[in-house]
Amino acid sequence: MKLIVRATVLACAATWSVAITTPAAAQGSPELRNSQIETVYVEPKDTAFTPIYERLRKRRVLEQLELFLAPLRLPRKVQVKIDQCGAPFADYKPGGPVTICYEYIDQIEKLAPGGPVLFGSAWITTRDDALVGAVVITVLHEVAHAVFDLLKVPVWGREDDAADKVAGFIVLQFGKEVAWRTITGVAWFLSQASENARVNYADIRPATAQRFYNILCIAYGSDTKTFGFLSPSASGQTVYLPAKRAEDCKYEYAQIKSGFEKTIMPNVDPDLLKKVQAMEWLK
């Protein structure tokens, strides 16, 4: 069983985070790279994280992030690194760097399902998507903190909620498939991570369960057809989104859309955005 799981993980590594199929795009045209983003894979001291480090490097996850963020105009450079933090998170400090922790990616791996997760006869998520979705949202969440800082974005509400909503909003702008795979993938991870989790009410961060509902709500609000299985009438006993929350999800999505357009979009190059949106992601 252990061997099977390991084999699955290795197989999945090939799909980690925003892999691009288009050969030209994979090579990376010079203009499609954000020169203000410097990325680093820091070799972990703990050898337990070495396989993750090697897989991420091999798959060029951070290089793809530079490509994905090409349309974003930043006033100065910021470093994005993957590092061993001694904890699942490393708080972003003004000026950077943005740090994604091996510890957190390790949690994502450990909580990913062994195979497809079914809802009735249809699948909701797969092991691959649970890995990819959670990693993509984690990376975009951490980058969002830097964007708020560098662009002096006014942030009302908890900054971590804002970072989640911005990350969720972004993945919803790349077609139904990307939206479905990332949202259901990260939802799986957050759902598993929140089970039996001790909640620290004094924490600056929201509870993991709250993150789960926040992200699902904007996804449902963005497209009640694609994410219709989340609705109280469809989800039946599972109740992904209780009726009281679901009824306002269209408003919540409209609010993050409007907020994004007012605060971040003025710093996005529309032509480059179209190019990035036209690429095939997560293939």
Partner: protein, 284 residues
């Protein structure tokens, strides 16, 4: 107990609800402090139990004072603010009707749960804080929703947290005494609701009552560490959170300055800030 509360409220609650100005300052500055885009209303309650509260609030011109307090706001449409019986302990903002509603039921609930005069909670939160501070924070929270809507403010986080932040931030701009009373009151408000419904609802649009306590206290400590240091000393605000409160306050200040301040008449705001607003129980 009820009689004591009623007598106390009769003496001072309405006077102190939302920053009653001192008599002297009021006579000189009051005429200029009007906001034509704010209309107020005291809706007569159906139930007799709220009649006294209704009369007191009306007599003491609580909403008139609120309208003065909000006079620097440049609103594109008229906002209605009313006290009303709701048959639930609540306050809300209706974007459809452009109105803020504070329920008599909520004020009555807080009066009944406020600590006795000489037994402040944790040696910190007095009876006056519990009632006056709660009402001020609740009104400003709902006005916050109205501002986000009317001014089309970008809200990237949860709007309910944002409304707490805007209320807390405003409460900290009128000196230490008002900051202390109102932040204490907001903390009491959410401690009370946390006790009343201990099961957290993580699926709710609101943060949990427990989390909302820390939102207000952290803003207070971040904006004025000296005034709120006893919360940290008594470990009511954990040091781990306290360490970041200055950043949280600065984040809120930046959001306020960027998104709300452009809609504020700065000269009128200075008048409002320079007034000697009085939140004492007896209004003296």
């Amino acid at each position: 107990m009820h009689r004591i509360v009623a007598a106390w409220a009769s003496a001072g609650l309405a006077t102190t609800l939302l920053a009653a100005p001192c008599a002297q300052a009021q006579t000189t500055a009051a005429p200029e402090l009007k906001n034509p885009r704010i209309s107020i209303d005291y809706v007569e309650p159906r139930r007799a139990r709220y009649q006294g509260l209704y009369e007191r609030l009306k007599k003491r011109q609580v909403l008139e004072q609120l309208a003065q307090f909000l006079s620097p706001l440049k609103l594109p449409l008229t906002l209605r603010i009313k006290f009303e019986e709701c048959e639930m302990i609540n306050a809300d903002y209706s974007p459809l009707n452009l109105r803020v509603r504070i329920c008599y039921d909520l004020i009555d609930f807080m009066e009944r749960h406020a600590p006795p005069e000489n037994a402040p909670i944790n040696g910190l939160i007095t009876r006056k804080d519990a009632i006056v501070g709660t009402v001020v924070s609740v009104i400003l929270h709902e006005v916050g929703h109205a501002l986000f809507d009317l001014l089309d403010v970008p809200v990237l986080g949860k709007e309910e947290d944002a409304a707490d932040q805007i209320a807390g931030f405003i409460m900290l701009q009128f000196g230490k005494d008002i900051a202390r009373t109102t932040i204490n009151g907001a903390a009491f408000d959410w401690v009370t609701f946390a006790s009343a419904s201990p099961k957290p609802h993580f699926d709710d649009v609101h943060s949990t009552p427990q989390q909302r306590v820390y939102t207000f206290v952290c803003l207070g400590y971040g904006g004025d560490p000296d005034t709120f240091k006893d919360y940290v000393e008594k470990e009511l605000l954990p040091r781990e959170r306290a360490a970041n409160c200055k950043n949280e306050y600065e984040q809120t200040k930046r959001a306020f300055t960027t998104t709300i301040l452009p809609y504020i008449d700065v000269d009128m705001m200075k008048q409002v800030q320079s007034r000697s607003w009085d939140l004492s129980v007896d209004g003296k």
